[in-house]
């Protein structure tokens, strides 16, 4: 259990997630912060990135002459193709997602509940245009769903909550939450604090409304 000198910035957080992705894993990275994880996968890890618009073996973002309007990621950003890639259509792509073939999916979140419920598609605001994309498929489909987010919202309210107040994306699907202040495992043992960054489990327990257990030091 490492403790740094303070909260993690988004790049450190992405690096932390990347560290926990097994070599050779098939991984889907959500839009936004999760996308940064790709920059921290070690060369030769053999990790294969899936993009739900229809590709395995996605490479880094495309620049300049590499840009091809027919080759984008799920965020519609131009990307590149790695050797060993494969293309497939949407029904096949989501068969892959929903069928439990991805080893890890990394998603952002508005809220995660202690029981692993995920809310990341809709704030519930009545005037907001709802948009779900592949979030619900990914939430219930991947073997392990990691969430990466800041632990507290801009207004200071915790995003790891006893039960989500925002509309759900999936029920009991999140197994680990990476935040700027701590990493949490969610499971049968409740919420286990694996690592803290510039804080302590006791401090976190005072700020969160969910019971925390400190992980046994290995």
């Amino acid at each position: 259990m490492s403790t740094g000198s303070g909260p993690l910035d988004k790049h450190d957080l992405a690096a932390l997630v990347a560290r926990d992705i097994p070599a050779g894993a098939y991984v889907n990275l959500g839009i936004g912060l999760p996308t940064l994880v790709a920059d921290h996968l070690p060369p030769g890890s053999g990790v294969v990135l899936h993009t739900e618009n229809g590709m395995l073996g996605m490479g880094p973002a495309a620049h300049g002459d590499q840009v091809d309007p027919d080759l984008t990621n799920a965020g519609k950003v131009p990307v590149t193709e790695l050797p060993g890639a494969a293309y497939f259509h949407q029904a096949d792509s989501f068969a892959m997602v929903r069928g439990g073939h991805l080893d890890v999916c990394v998603l952002g979140a508005f809220q995660v509940s202690a029981g692993g419920d995920l809310a990341n598609w809709h704030t519930g605001a009545p005037d907001a245009t709802p948009a779900v994309g592949g979030a619900m498929d990914l939430a219930i489909g991947a073997k392990r769903v990691f969430v990466v987010m800041e632990l507290f919202a801009k207004d200071g309210s915790p995003k790891l909550v006893p039960s989500c107040t925002y509309p759900l994306t999936g029920v009991g699907c999140v197994s680990r939450v990476y935040t700027d202040l701590a990493v949490f495992d969610l499971g049968q043992d409740g919420v286990v604090v694996r690592e803290v960054f510039g804080t302590t489990t006791d401090e976190l327990a005072a700020r969160l409304d969910v019971p925390l257990t400190a992980a046994l030091v290995p």
Binding site: Q90, G133, D137, V171
Partner: protein
């Protein structure tokens, strides 16, 4: 039956009826059959239900069809994008209905229509507002929601090459919804970059066999 290679996008979209359900391919702009959508605007069909992953970008293509007030309802997974102002304005004003469907379920419902499957039990969305009030069933210890096949009267899709019997290949992630929509519509219209002679496409690499294609146009 045999494919027609059309002389123009206008000829390719001729005959679309008011009130049709139109499946429109593309994910963002990749695979979007812009010339066919523009021809559909000129063609004039109204009261359409449009099934597409997004709800239009900028002011062209699907956004222009929406702006021309031809669309009654959009069935899609992700209408909110940086440049989806046309849809958002119409939706907020109550002028276009939205039926929001998870992306994988959207694809699978169209696949089911093309594959003669009436409905299927799907784990996506269980316990969320999108499954509220819907029929569910526990299968193998997991809750599934019943999803019905989603069929189109017309599909407008983009592909890379067609041969003269309608076999199609695509390019990279522009493949996206094209192959699925081609199977799910009564009439499938394809905008391609090139029409090649029969025998030029490798039979092992054909993605959409010509049986699913009715009209092809180079645009």
């Amino acid at each position: 039956m045999a494919v027609t290679v059309c002389a123009s996008p206008a000829a390719a979209v001729a005959g679309v009826q008011d009130g049709s359900t139109v499946l429109i391919g593309g994910f963002g702009m990749a695979g979007m059959p812009v010339a066919l959508i523009e021809a559909l605007i000129d063609q004039g069909a109204r009261e359409l239900t449009v099934v597409s992953n997004n709800a239009g970008n900028g002011d062209t293509g699907l956004a222009a069809l929406l702006a021309a007030r031809r669309v009654r309802k959009v069935v899609c997974s992700f209408p909110r994008q940086a440049d989806s102002w046309v849809f958002e304005g119409l939706h907020r004003a109550g002028e276009v209905k939205l039926d929001l469907v998870p992306q994988g379920t959207l694809a699978e419902r169209m696949r089911a229509a093309g594959a003669g499957i009436g409905a299927f039990f799907c784990p996506t969305g269980v316990g969320t507002p999108l499954a509220e009030g819907r029929e569910t069933r526990e299968i193998d210890g997991r809750t599934h929601v019943l999803e019905y096949a989603l069929r189109g009267d017309v599909a407008l899709i983009g592909a890379h090459k067609a041969d003269r019997v309608g076999n199609l290949v695509y390019r990279k992630t522009a493949r996206n919804f094209g192959p699925v929509m081609a199977t799910a519509a009564t009439t499938t219209v394809v905008q391609v970059s090139q029409v090649v002679e029969v025998g030029e496409l490798d039979p092992e690499s054909v993605v959409t066999p010509g049986i699913y294609v009715d009209r092809v146009v180079v645009a």
